[in-house]
Every structure is written in structure tokens, then in C-alpha cells.
């Protein structure tokens, strides 16, 4: 019977190790570029459709509903929480020292929203509709990424 000949020493069982090479660059695009460059100057940019008046955030170069051009408008960056979740594990499922709060924030004066971190607030004190404002990195440390906004905090 062949099963008597089974390999019982696990070190004799072979395995194959491999690595998948993957490298990517994702550019922000025309409107995204405008947004991040304005963020370096402490400004929040949204895009308003010239025809229907819809205000897009993050900004777009054209309106998704009637394909017309948009113009950039400045908004305050403050907003209210639409939804939130509390993460107690990191991406490798290791417990976090301090829970992280992720929220979808409806920005004032726009029809759009942003997904970002909340801080300077306890998880149990967060509620839907809470007013928040952004906290930015030091001006010379900003590099044109979404992490230039450190987190949002209650006003």
C-alpha cells in the first residue's frame, strides 16, 4: 500500500517561495492636482458645474451629469460626519494602541464628501452629524498627498 510510503517528516515536504513584483504610480489628475496644490496654501478647492451648479468634492474637471465644464470654488474644509467606524486592529490584525476612527465627512458648501481620520475625540463621543474641521500638516512638510490632512477634529 502506497500510503505506508507517505512522507512523514515535514522537512522533506517541499515548498516553493515566490514574490510578486508590483510597482505603481497614480497621478492625481488635473483636478486632483489643483486640489493638492491649493491644500499646500491652506485652501480647500471644490469644482462647481457651470450649468447645473452641482459642487463636486473632490473636484472634477467636468460634470458627471451634463458633461459641461466645471469651475474651481473655494470651500472652508469644515463639515459634518455622515458615517464613521472605529478600528481597533491594524491591517495585519495586530491590536492598535489607540483605536483609529474613520469617518465619511460631508463638506460644507459641496455635494461631495471625504473619507478621513478623526482625532482629538474619544470613539464613544463621536456621533453622526458632528461638526468637524481639518488639521493640516506643517506647511513646509506638505507633499501633495491626502496625508497632508493629518485628521479632522471636532469644532
Amino acid at each position: 500500500m502506497v500510503f505506508n510510503e507517505k512522507i512523514v517528516n515535514p522537512t522533506e515536504l517541499k515548498h516553493w517561495e515566490g514574490k510578486i513584483e508590483l510597482y505603481w504610480v497614480y497621478t492625481s489628475g488635473n483636478a486632483g492636482d489643483e486640489f493638492f496644490k491649493a491644500l499646500k496654501e491652506d485652501k480647500f478647492i471644490a469644482a462647481k458645474c457651470k450649468k447645473c451648479g452641482m459642487v463636486y468634492f473632490p473636484p472634477r474637471i467636468y460634470c458627471e451629469y451634463d458633461f459641461s465644464e466645471t469651475e474651481y470654488v473655494e470651500v472652508s474644509g469644515e463639515g459634518s460626519i455622515r458615517a464613521f467606524t472605529v478600528a481597533r486592529l491594524d491591517k495585519n490584525e495586530e491590536p492598535l494602541e489607540k483605536p483609529e476612527i474613520y469617518a465619511i465627512i460631508d463638506l460644507d458648501g459641496t455635494d461631495g464628501c471625504i473619507l478621513h481620520l478623526l482625532d482629538e475625540v474619544k470613539p464613544e463621543d463621536v456621533y453622526i452629524g458632528m461638526r468637524v474641521k481639518p488639521v493640516l500638516k506643517a506647511k513646509d512638510a506638505r507633499e501633495g498627498k491626502i496625508t497632508d490632512i493629518l485628521y479632522f477634529k471636532p469644532t
Binding site: L13, Y23, F67
Partner: protein, 175 residues
């Protein structure tokens, strides 16, 4: 949303904004980049572990099912037709027949190769018909390969073998 004719102000062909490599390096445009570390380990299992061990000895091994009398190559522990454990291990020859082949002019990164490589499925002699492995052919021009061509394995030197499928360097035509 209504469907039909619309007053579209955008040109029918929107012109993109070209970005040069230098624009990224000089920080003219904003971007994010990542190089994720994706690793995997594939366990060979009982049958393939034995197969790889035999490759080190310069031999090809298959398994046999006494119900359907098939000699299965590459070896496996269960007969997938009879749903029963295999009955025996048998050695097969290092010669075979080309079942199908493909000529590749690019490497896995889609870069052009200086010489094309020929990838083929080879049914080995001694195993049941159409039982075979995928490997590369050499010492033959791409235009001379045909289905049904008899080939033979070219092995690495004994001291260089490590129990991997690459212990066979390539297969070459017989005669």
C-alpha cells in the same frame, strides 16, 4: 437620468494631459506610489515532493491506479476518476511527445527577448496518453517544431540539481 440627446459642451474627444517621467521626478504633478511586498509559499504536497526529490536523481516518477490502469504524470495521491488512493509509484522515461507548443518573444515583464523561447506541453513516454508537463524546448528552431515531435530531456549536471523542475534544462528533439 434621462436618456437621449443632450446639450454636450465637452468636445467628443477629450484631450488628455500627458505626463512625463521628469514631471513626476521634479514634483510638477502630485501622485502617490507604492511597491507592495507580496510574497507567497506554495506547498508541494506528498506526490509532488516525491516527484521533485526524484528529479534530483535524474528520474521522472509517476503514480498508478490499478482500477483504471492509468499511469498519472505528474504524480498525484488520488485517482480523480476512481476517487481512490493510488496503488503504486512507477518510473517513466525522460522522453516524450510534444502535445502543443507556443513561441514566446517576450519575458514575464513583456520585454523583448533576444531569442524566442518555445514553451511546450510534453506527454512523457511510459505514462498514459496525454499525461504530461509543461516545459521549454531548445536546440530546435521555432519554425521546425511540430505537434507529435519526439523530444528528450536535457538534465543539469548531477551536482547542480536541487530538486526543482529546472533540474531539467530543456527538452531537445530526438534524432
Amino acid at each position: 437620468m434621462s436618456v437621449g440627446k443632450k446639450d454636450i459642451t465637452c468636445p467628443p474627444e477629450a484631450i488628455g494631459t500627458p505626463v512625463k517621467d521628469s514631471d513626476l521626478k521634479e514634483g510638477k504633478v502630485t501622485y502617490v506610489e507604492d511597491h507592495p511586498d507580496i510574497r507567497y509559499a506554495w506547498t508541494a504536497g506528498q506526490a509532488i515532493s516525491r516527484f521533485l526529490k526524484e528529479l534530483k536523481n535524474g528520474k521522472l516518477i509517476a503514480t498508478k491506479c490499478n482500477s483504471c490502469r492509468r499511469v498519472m504524470f505528474p504524480p498525484r495521491m488520488f485517482c480523480e476518476l476512481c476517487f481512490k488512493p493510488i496503488d503504486d509509484w512507477v518510473y517513466v522515461q525522460d522522453t516524450g511527445t510534444v502535445q502543443t507548443f507556443s513561441i514566446s518573444y517576450i519575458d514575464p515583464d513583456a520585454k523583448p527577448l533576444p531569442e524566442p523561447i518555445i514553451v511546450a506541453v510534453i506527454a512523457v513516454d511510459g505514462a498514459s496518453p496525454k499525461m504530461g508537463i509543461m516545459h521549454i524546448l531548445d536546440e530546435v528552431k521555432p519554425e521546425d517544431v511540430y505537434i507529435g515531435m519526439k523530444v528528450k530531456a536535457v538534465w543539469k549536471d548531477e551536482e547542480e540539481r536541487e530538486g526543482a523542475i529546472t533540474d531539467i534544462k530543456y527538452w531537445k528533439p530526438v534524432g
